[in-house]
């Protein structure tokens, strides 16, 4: 499934554009593609941090990155992140169950 795209005007530091050009040469892609790849990598990392901290949910993360929930788990595992309830949450759920 191809993600929807839309144009967005943006001023970028010269160094970042040079980095994009380097990546474009290395990866044999055009400058715009290289910039999108760099932006996407940063977005993935930020989104996983939000997910780990419980600021967004798994389903929301999958919607934002336009992928399956499995893919989000795979990305988290690749970065050594574990997602899920805390021990306090586990104990509270247990208390409520017995309650």
């Amino acid at each position: 499934m191809k993600a929807k795209t839309m144009p967005y005007p943006l001023r970028l530091p010269k160094g970042l554009l040079e980095l994009a050009d380097l990546r474009a040469t290395e990866e044999r892609v055009d400058r715009s593609t290289a910039l999108r790849q760099l932006l996407y990598a940063g977005a993935e990392q930020y989104l996983l941090e939000l997910l780990q901290r419980g600021r967004i949910s798994l389903s929301k993360a999958a919607e934002l990155l336009d992928c399956s929930t499995w893919a989000i788990y795979e990305l988290a595992q690749a970065r050594g992140m574990t997602l899920g309830a805390t021990a306090e949450g586990y104990e509270r759920a247990k208390e409520r169950l017995r309650g």
Partner: protein, 178 residues
């Protein structure tokens, strides 16, 4: 009970989803089905097909619903922006089906459930409960917990392991007395 994507993934990876579905009356929403099964199959995740087999065999997928007034109230108070369609529909389905509990391990979703004082089961605790209700043997549950280990927090793995070991001890003592 109602299961969200996070719960489905962890129970499937642990190899116990089928036993959970047999032990309890389980439902999932259309949104959860789409983001986990349909999208997972498109991206060639083999566990997505396994979930499809288990869920479709028993026809537990419910059509889209975002209309339950109690769910709307909870989302309005707790803030729906952090949740995706999957968790929001799960909450609506929980009220619509008058379910007992939601299986989820999603911190953002659990925070909403906590604020609304709604019952939830993290998958590791669901595994302990399944063993307590004899829906799975204790040794088998310990093996499943090992498969779940890399997907859950180490502290939760430890608590669930202690609970299963305690249950094992209790069953042994009852056997000795009987």
């Amino acid at each position: 009970m109602v299961i969200d994507s996070d719960g489905l993934i962890k129970l499937a990876k642990a190899g116990v989803l089928e036993k959970v579905v047999k032990a309890w009356d389980c439902h999932i929403t259309q949104a959860v089905y789409e983001e986990t099964v349909e999208r997972g199959k498109e991206e060639a995740y083999p566990d997505a097909e396994e979930i499809e087999r288990i869920i479709q065999d028993r026809g537990h997928v419910r059509p889209p619903s975002r209309e339950h007034p109690q769910a709307k109230g909870v989302l309005a108070l707790a803030g729906a922006k952090s949740l995706g369609r999957g968790e929001q529909e799960t909450l609506h389905l929980f009220f619509a089906e008058e379910a007992d509990v939601i299986i989820s391990d999603d911190r953002a979703f659990l925070a909403v459930l906590e604020r609304a004082a709604l019952p939830y089961l993290p998958p590791a605790l669901a595994l302990v409960e399944l063993a307590r209700r004899k829906g799975i043997g204790i040794e088998e549950a310990l093996e499943a917990l090992e498969r779940m280990k890399r997907l859950i927090k180490a502290e939760v793995y430890q608590r669930a392991r202690e609970d299963l070991e305690a249950l094992k001890g209790k069953v042994r003592r009852e056997g000795d007395e009987g």
